[in-house]
């Protein structure tokens, strides 16, 4: 028991730094995933037949293959083949972002489709172009509706980010193993890692909840 506590005490800052790395990876992937997921969603809802088909293939591809396979494929395969030397950290952000884009696009697509069709017609009747109607009327509402989905996505990405230890990203999971290999207190250290992940998940989903409340339009019902 006391040996376990000593191990946790000694390794705590080292682990905390690792948790910070997880957080940066996740925030990076969420942003990258959003920037890519938004056009994917818009294309799937408003695009022509070919665009829809292409985007659907993207979503199908990135949802259909395990994260670990993508990580290895990018880190050792693709990136080495193209002869660009990206760090494990960068590859982790890119791969998680690409996968997240597929999921985020589906969240957004659902939100876009949930806005009554009449709004689009009304906006057009007021003289807005399609583009204006989407960006001024439909999207601001859809993005608000997507927040619970992002909250979910954040929690999933956070847990997925632990898998990047396989590339040697210096995140919480690999650091936990480092400390455990030196002190042999595996049980205590994995518990610590679990608690740190739980705190991060809780804090993130709470933040999203607050954001959602903040952005709610008073009196607005669907």
């Amino acid at each position: 028991m006391s040996q376990g506590m000593t191990a946790i005490q000694e390794g705590f800052w080292y682990l905390l730094e690792g948790a910070w790395v997880n957080l940066i990876v996740v925030v990076g992937a969420l942003i990258f995933g959003f920037l890519l997921g938004l056009p994917l969603a818009l294309g799937q809802v408003y695009g022509g037949k070919i665009l829809r088909r292409v985007f659907a293939v993207y979503v199908w591809f990135f949802r259909g293959i395990p994260l670990l396979v993508f990580l290895f494929l990018f880190y050792f395969g693709l990136v080495a083949w193209l002869d660009i030397n990206l760090s494990a950290f960068t590859v982790a952000v890119i791969v998680l972002g690409l996968i997240s884009a597929a999921y985020q696009s589906q969240t957004l697509r659902g939100a876009l489709l949930s806005i009554p069709e009449g709004q689009m017609k009304a906006a057009r009747a007021l003289g807005m172009s399609d583009f204006q109607a989407i960006f001024r009327v439909i999207l601001p509402q859809s993005i608000r509706l997507s927040i619970p989905g992002w909250s979910n996505e954040y929690a999933i990405l956070l847990k997925d980010s632990a898998v990047t230890y396989a590339l040697g990203v210096s995140e919480l999971m690999s650091r936990t193993n480092h400390v455990a290999s030196r002190t042999y207190q595996h049980l205590y250290l994995y518990i610590t890692a679990g608690i740190l992940f739980m705190i991060l998940t809780y804090a993130g989903t709470r933040l999203m909840g607050m954001l959602q409340k903040r952005l709610t339009v008073p009196g607005y019902t669907r």
Binding site: I31, A166, S170, S174, S181, R182, T183
Partner: protein, 251 residues
């Protein structure tokens, strides 16, 4: 919200540029280590790489005039990492094997590892029982012992089950948990584990020839190969080398 998002993007880009820039500014050679392999290479209390190989490479780098960084790398993927230029060499208790020799160049050997089976300290198992019985063995994935056991015991009809682990300490953990009966490790690791108070004992050698331990370099990287090889030879001629071995519990 829009501004917040923009800020985050800018911060993220800055992080990427800085982390990328650090690589480009000065050519620091990267030593890929198994950070879960004490006493050869591990992470110390302050979060810095430590171990016999880490200290030895630091000495060599100073002597031969290059900068070095020790990068924890997943062991099973360490040779692909070397070939993909994610790391520049491997100094982390790596055994010389014919298969690895086809992939990389090895320096002179600096240590001979003896591979043994360990079991719980209260276990009365013998090596013969372990090899010919219907037991469970543990081994670290991607190691010379994993390969040797598969080729020379399992493929020759032995009936035991081989369970592979990400690191040697995890295999030890499962011996204590009773999930496996024995594990194959080097005497160096086994002694380190016992020193740290693990309730295990060495039950004996299981037939694998002694491993030569050396540093691995990409085949085309002759300049670095010479630096490491000469540096290592110089180091082994100094009293510091004996000190190091003593400090990290190697004979």
């Amino acid at each position: 919200m829009k501004n917040g998002l923009r800020c985050l993007v800018v911060v993220l880009m800055a992080v990427m540029v800085i982390s990328g820039g650090a690589f480009a500014a000065e050519k620091t050679l990267i030593n890929g280590i198994d950070a879960n392999y004490p006493p050869y290479s591990f992470i110390d209390k302050t979060g810095k790489p430590d171990g016999l190989d880490v200290m030895a490479v630091n000495w060599i780098a100073k002597e031969m005039g290059f900068k070095v960084k020790h990068q924890p790398t997943e062991w099973a993927a360490i040779i692909p990492s070397l070939k993909a230029k994610k790391i520049d060499f491997i100094a982390s208790g790596m055994s010389v094997t014919p298969e690895r020799k086809e992939q990389v160049n090895f320096t002179v050997s600096y240590y001979q590892t003896v591979m043994v089976l360990v079991a719980k300290d209260i276990s009365a198992l013998t090596v013969d029982q372990a090899i010919n019985g219907n037991l469970k063995w543990g081994v670290q994935r991607g190691t010379s012992e994993a390969k040797w056991i598969e080729d020379n015991l399992l493929k020759k009809g032995k009936a035991f089950k081989l369970q592979q682990y990400d690191s040697a300490p995890l295999a030890m953990e499962d011996i204590l948990n009773g999930r496996i009966d024995v594990a194959a490790v080097s005497t160096t690791s086994a002694e380190e584990f016992m020193l740290k108070g693990m309730a295990i004992r060495i039950i004996g050698k299981y037939g694998q020839p002694d491993d030569e331990t050396a540093y691995a370099v990409r085949k085309e990287d002759t300049e670095l190969y010479n630096k490491l090889n000469d540096g290592l030879k110089k180091l082994m001629a100094t009293p510091y080398w004996q000190e190091l071995k003593h400090q990290y519990g190697l004979r």
